[in-house]
């Protein structure tokens, strides 16, 4: 049962990561590309972490996974606007 849950969640997460990468490659300008990348990656990684949680040997390991997801979300949410502003200053 947990194996099915893990499989579904990780597959869905990979789908979001692939969609985010497609957006990064195909969208027309920096703002939309960053939007696709940070949002889809945050969600994709979150789904992968969620799927892996039942496979962890203990609560400490599960909390570490969640901490990684939180840190990546924090980094994405900070870097996205910074890069967007840099890009708009470069090409007004």
């Amino acid at each position: 049962m947990t194996a099915v849950f893990t499989g579904v969640c990780v597959a869905a997460g990979l789908l979001f990561l692939a969609a985010g990468t497609a957006g990064l490659l195909r969208f027309p300008d920096a703002a939309t590309r960053l939007h696709a990348l940070t949002k889809a990656d945050g969600l994709g990684l979150g789904l992968i972490v969620l799927g892996l949680l039942p496979q962890m040997p203990g609560v400490a390991a599960a909390l570490k996974l969640l901490a990684i997801w939180g840190l990546v979300l924090l980094a994405g949410a900070t870097i996205g606007p910074l890069l967007a502003r840099h890009a708009t200053e470069r090409e007004p």
Binding site: L71, L74, A75, A77, T78, P81, L82
Partner: protein
Amino acid sequence: MILDALLALAILALAAWTVWTRDAFAAGIGFVATGLLLALAWVRLGSVDVALTEAAIGAGIGGVLLVNAATHLGTTAEEAPPSPRQNRLIALLCAGFAVAVGTALLTLPDPAPNLVHEAAAALPATGLGNPVTAVLMVWRGLDTLLEAIVVLLAVLGLWALAPEGATRPAPPPREEGPLPLLARVLPPIGVVIALHIVWAGADGPGGKFQGGAILAAMWVLAWMAGLVRAPEVMDRRLAWALVAGPLVFLGVGVAGLVLAGEFLALPAGWAKPVILLIEAPLTLSIAAGLALLLLGPPERAP
């Protein structure tokens, strides 16, 4: 196996792109990405210590230094490109270097000479669990001492670029929005992780260089967000923070000469506490040195 092959291909492709691209800023970013993939490759090879160092020092500090330098230089397009003859010479020298390194690697005797068994056999005597730390602190302490001093020399070299009357590095451009928030939220987490990595280095992957790099990054983050001011270069406390590590290390080395009969020799049974005594100030000195390198040369007060 397929994943490893893809990883190796990605590293080569990214490295080639980094060399080929004309934009110095983009090349700096490419260097960081290559370094992170290299760190993954080291993890796959089972060398987590090297992976941590590559990620923290190589990709992290080194990458920021390169990007910093690129923004100061402007893009390479403004400069006259090297002449065809210079290009040929550069290509020839680089290719010659690659051939020399490749030949050296391929002509190693099989099995390659190594001291793994001797190191594993002698590990219990050190009281450490991580053979990499044992090599760095017990058997090749002199190399580690010189590495710590190299960081200090690099800071002195950077400061030598300062104009007359310079007091401290120029403050960063004023930042609002997400960066100050990150600079308030991240450092408490980062400091705990950095100290954990230094402490864990005795028995597992980690160590003072990696931990010191994370500490330096946390401080530089707060500085970039305008939360802390850069120290004045003549500040006594800064000078002590910079030399504390090498000084204690040298002191222990001289004490080893007296007590154990050899420079940097650790008295039997005391290896672990003495190593902790060295590593604590050394972490501080490495963090201070790396942070100052990231801040750039001091400038005159406006």
